[in-house]
Every structure is written in C-alpha cells, then in structure tokens.
Subunit: 140 residues, 2 copies
C-alpha cells in the first residue's frame, strides 16, 4: 500500500494502481482494476484522480486521456517544495510503441514559457508538454 499521508481510501487505491502500472492508465481501466475493491462507477475514479492531480502526485496525459503517478513525488528540485516536491512544469516523453512514459522537467523551457507569458501578460494556470515518439528500446 502506498503510505502517502492524508489520502482517503479511494485516493490510495487509485494511486496504488497507478504506481504499480508500467504505462499510463485510462480512468476506465483503473475502474476495472478496482472492481474487486468495491468500485462501481467512473466518478469514483475521476474524483480520486482530481484530488491526486491537485496534490501533484498524479498527472493527466492529455494526448492519451490517461493518467500516471508522479515520478518525482518526493523531489523538490526547484527550491520551493510545496509538500510534495512541487516543481515547475513537467514534461512527458511517451513511447507510442511500448507505452512507457518518461517524466522530466527543464528549467530552460519553463523560463522560456514564463517569458512568453510575461511579455503578453498571460497568466498561466496549467501547462502541458507531451512528446510522443519512439523510445530507444523500441527503435530499430
């Protein structure tokens, strides 16, 4: 069981499923994996996911309509730890062959996007960066 404090039962169950998975999972796949634990409806999954994402310990992959556990949940690399290793914008490299996801973040990109936003007086709330392609293992 994942022992992150202050998680409700449903949130823990969903996070566990995500943490154990090699690849991102859709909400409905999560639901299926949790039927034995008493889950019956999509909303139970979506509500847990919303909270996990809000806490920064799970992420949504927009280009896949799927979800992953945060790979950096215990780091706080950017100087301002918000309880769960909050860092700047996170980027994902997603292999379209094996489905594996690599999470990373990059100050230079953050700065660049922040600069663009500042120039235009645009106030960012959430930024999505996803690279789809082939990982080394899947290339010929």
């Amino acid at each position: 069981m994942n022992t992150t404090p202050n998680l409700t039962k449903n949130q823990s169950l969903v996070l566990d499923v995500l943490t154990r998975s090699e690849a991102p999972l859709s909400a409905y796949t999560i639901l299926d994996k949790l039927r034995d634990s008493g889950f019956r409806a999509p909303l139970q999954v979506y509500r847990a996911l919303d909270k996990l994402i809000e806490m920064g310990i799970a992420h949504r992959l927009e280009s896949l309509n799927s979800f992953v556990a945060c790979a950096h949940a215990n780091e706080s690399c950017c100087g301002h730890a918000h309880g769960h290793g909050h860092h700047g914008t996170v980027a994902f490299a997603i292999c379209e062959s094996c489905g594996q996801v690599n999470e990373f973040h990059d100050h230079a990109i953050d700065d660049r996007l922040a600069g663009w936003a500042k120039e235009r007086k645009f106030k960012p709330s959430k930024t999505t960066i996803e690279i789809r392609g082939l990982c080394e293992a899947c290339m010929h």
Copy 2:
C-alpha cells in the same frame, strides 16, 4: 471559400469553419455547423480534420479535444518550408475565460526538447505544448 489548393470539398468546408471561428471548435460543433452543407456524421468531420492536421493547416488542442486552423499557414520561419510554412513544434496559449488561442513557436524550446530527446535516443513524432490560463483582456 478558402482557396488552399488540393483540398477536397469536405476538407475545404471544415477548414472554412475553423478559419472563421474565433475559438477552437470540437468535431461535433463543426458537424453542427456543416449540417446545412450536407454533413451528417462525425466521421466526415474527423476524416477531413485528419488530413488538414497532416497537412499542417489545422491543429488539435489535446487539452480541449478541439481544433483550430493554423495561424501560420503561410509562414515558413524555420528555413524549411514544407509547402505550408512548416515550422518546428507549435505551442498554444489558451485563455480559459474567453477561449481565445494564441499560437506561437519558440526555437529555444524546440532545441531544448530536441536535446533531451537526442540524449535519450528518443525519436519524437509529435509534440504538444499547451498553456492554459488567462489572457490579458480577461484578467482583472
């Protein structure tokens, strides 16, 4: 009518709708706008969109499940024009209040992502960058 050459009738109709719209449109919204032109089924829209995106004259916004006409269809700023002003990865700033979308691209970010990919021998096929937030006009 949009006069981009080599578009089929359906593709032109869809592109026209996108071009005239201030904000991104979902496939079903496009469908509704084209009922009078004979469209009856989602697939007619999706097929046209697929081609337009492939040609680089429309984009999909992953975080909205919606589509926009390319704002730079006639530019070729990065030195290699692929017929339709093909440039590097495109980024979008999306106002969550008014819905307006600002399309831009940034060499530094491109380079940075390319560098990351090269280091890991990851071969990118498509990159998504979307900033959601509030535009200047919508801030208080």
